[in-house]
């Protein structure tokens, strides 16, 4: 008996949908075993991380708040990944976006209101987009690998944040703690009555539709897919792959910047040294778990947000460290990548000559 892989003519749609679900379930099952081996109650840990946030309705708004930035960033990243553009510096673009929002807010002093909030968010989008334009420029002009340059700029962005919140933007009434002064109420995002759910959550629900329309229905979306599938085909089709690199990088950065701005205006209201919380990196997992599909990103963003919230809950209930959620997230990514082969190939079991009676 022999196992043979046969290339499918078309990627399997059934597998495309089934494998992410299987990845999550497999992660949970393996999680139970591994944690039991580590001497932690595995079943309880997995239930706490993956299910409790869904069962406890008072945790839903936490999940929504965590899902919003993940979805928004993942939408931008998956567009780039579709074109084989690897922006892994979303974390930095998120930070710079938030800083630009903060800068715009500071420029207006205590003045707030609809227009100011809009300008602050716009500043975040522009800031994130510009930060991502640097790797795009270096890639198209000097052929610099965008993976490395976008990541290096993330480390630079942390220092920019450190400098601003510890220096010029430091809250004078903040007991010398490196953080910006809390936002004036008029500069924060509107919040759903009697909850913490801010307007950004709505943005995260609408954007997948926008991205789906762009990717599936516009010429630009078509171009992105062609450039991603084959550079030669793109050239023959008269598509400029440089333009695609520029566009997808900047859109990725703009989305990360938007997420940073929304997080600042909607949740944290100030920026301190702990502002960069890893959303930009986790969003990479969201993009892949969502199969680079806008609606997939929406669902995957919620799943990952659940593990974030669940991870925090498990920290107090079963005393497992916060990093555990990160391990689960990485495991999901491993499984989804491993299962890619099922989408593109068919597994055939070929009976050996003897067994077949030849």
């Amino acid at each position: 008996m022999r196992i043979k892989l046969e290339k499918r003519r078309e990627p399997s749609l059934a597998m495309l949908v089934a494998t992410p679900i299987a990845s999550v379930i497999l992660t949970m099952l393996i999680g139970i075993v591994v944690f039991d081996l580590l001497g932690i109650k595995g079943f309880k840990a997995v239930v706490d991380i993956f299910l409790s946030p869904l069962l406890a309705s008072y945790k839903w708004q936490d999940v929504a708040l965590k899902a919003a930035p993940l979805i928004i960033i993942a939408l931008g990243l998956s567009m780039g990944n579709r074109a084989q553009v690897w922006n892994i510096g979303a974390e930095g673009q998120y930070v710079i976006g938030a800083l630009c929002s903060a800068g715009m807010g500071i420029a207006f002093g205590q003045t707030g209101g609809f227009l100011v909030v809009l300008l602050m968010i716009a500043a975040g989008i522009v800031g994130g987009g510009l930060w991502a334009a640097v790797p795009a420029w270096l890639r198209t002009k000097y052929n610099v690998n965008e993976i490395l340059s976008s990541l290096m700029l993330t480390y630079v962005s942390f220092q920019v944040l450190g400098y601003l919140v510890g220096g010029p933007w430091k809250d004078p009434n903040g007991r010398n703690f490196p953080a910006t002064a809390p936002l004036a109420d008029a500069q924060t995002l509107p919040v759903w009555p009697e909850s913490t759910v801010h307007l950004g959550v709505l943005v995260a629900l609408i954007l997948p539709i926008v991205f789906w329309v762009i990717m599936a229905r516009s010429e630009f979306g078509y171009q992105v897919r062609v450039v991603g599938s084959s550079a030669t085909a793109a050239r023959h089709g008269g598509f400029d792959s440089k333009r695609t690199i520029w566009a997808t990088m900047i859109i990725g950065g703009a989305m990360a910047g938007l997420a940073g701005g929304l997080e600042f205006l909607g949740v944290l209201h100030k920026i301190d040294l702990g502002f960069a919380s890893g959303y930009g990196f986790t969003a990479i997992i969201v993009a892949f778990l969502g199969r680079l599909n806008p609606f997939g990103c929406l669902i995957a963003g919620i799943v990952l947000a659940v593990t974030y919230v669940g991870g925090q809950m498990a920290q107090t209930s079963v005393h497992i460290p916060n990093s555990t959620a990160g391990i689960f997230q990485a495991m999901m990514l491993f499984f989804i990548l491993a299962s890619d082969i099922l989408v593109r190939y068919r597994i055939r079991v070929i009976p050996s000559a003897k067994a077949a009676g030849v």
């Binding site: 000097y142 052929n143 892949f288 990160g326 391990i327 495991m331 990514l333």
Partner: protein, 307 residues
């Protein structure tokens, strides 16, 4: 400032260079075999905690280094199985390895937080290791000598041995290498494991020598600098050594700027310097086009034999 300062500065630079030199050499071999492993940072972290943990239990730093190598190699095998057996996307899988390594290292490190080990310093007699001038030669951790020896060894292996030739052949043209009977998969497994072990040893330099304790994410992006170093070096070992020292000097500048309170520029400027300079250096190298020409032809591509 004088001769003492210069000696101290050289020792600092050598120390800062060692981890990226080790990880970079490992990654160079991996990439020469045609595989791009972006998980260096994750493997370094796993190496850092493994080395530290083994040292805590055995009180023997030599075992610690072995443990770090084993930890890094084990982590890299996870990547190898996915990429080689299941043909998964190398970029995404490498990123997954870094995320996984970050998580698993902090989980492993929980019970070691706050503990310290005796730093793994020079094993030469104190009269040499602490000597005013001779410390320039004898005053380093054994890991430093190991890294320096590995440079000519790797060069020799890649250039002059049969195994090295096969490895390069696999990286340049996997299908041809396969058709004349070499096992592409086995060669790449070996290369990836070597890369993992080297990254692991590089990582344990942080937890066993620089600060003899464990802290989450203590490698602070050096794994990524090591990756950049390979491109910067144009996949040549000699240039990798030079590049590693160039970055080592930049990182030392940061330390000195902080210590001496160069107040005309904020300390964050110096901290951002190695990363910003990496981008600048990559631009110089990549724009000249020679580096790309030297890249292994099969780098990052899955191996898909027709039979």
């Amino acid at each position: 400032m004088g001769i003492d300062f210069i000696i101290a500065a050289i020792i600092t630079v050598v120390g800062l260079t060692t981890p990226i030199l080790l990880a970079g050499l490992g990654e160079l071999v991996v990439e020469k075999s045609g595989v791009l492993n972006l998980g260096v940072e994750g493997m370094m972290l796993v190496g850092a905690i493994s080395g530290f943990a083994v040292t805590v239990y055995t009180f023997n730093p030599w075992f610690g280094v072995l443990g770090a190598a084993a930890g890094g190699a084990l982590a890299s095998l996870l990547f190898a199985v996915l990429v080689l057996q299941l043909n998964s996307n190398q970029v995404a899988t490498g990123l997954a390895l870094t995320i996984f390594g970050t998580g698993i290292s902090s989980l492993m490190g929980l019970s070691f937080t706050g503990r310290i080990v005796v730093p793994f310093l020079s094993v030469f007699p104190e009269s040499l290791a602490k000597h005013e001038y001779l410390q320039l030669i004898f005053g380093y951790s054994p890991i430093v000598y190991f890294a320096l020896i590995m440079v000519p060894l790797t060069t020799w292996f890649l250039k002059s041995t049969r195994a090295g030739l096969i490895l390069r052949a696999v990286g340049e043209n996997d299908l041809s290498a396969h058709s004349i009977g070499y096992s592409v998969i086995k060669v790449r497994y070996a290369a990836i494991a070597f890369g993992g072990a080297m990254a692991g040893i590089g990582g344990c330099y942080f937890s066993m020598v620089i600060t003899p304790m464990w802290a989450e994410k203590m490698t602070a992006g050096r794994g990524w600098i090591a990756l950049a170093l390979v491109v910067f070096a144009g996949w040549r070992t000699g240039r990798l050594l030079a590049g590693a020292y160039f970055f080592g000097i930049l990182m030392a500048l940061e330390l000195y700027a902080k210590a001496s309170g160069f107040s005309f520029l904020p300390s964050q400027f110096w901290a951002a310097m190695p990363y910003a300079m990496t981008v600048v250096a990559l631009s110089f190298i990549s724009s000249r086009g020679t580096a790309g020409a030297n890249a292994p032809a099969c780098l990052g591509k899955p191996f898909l034999p027709s039979t």
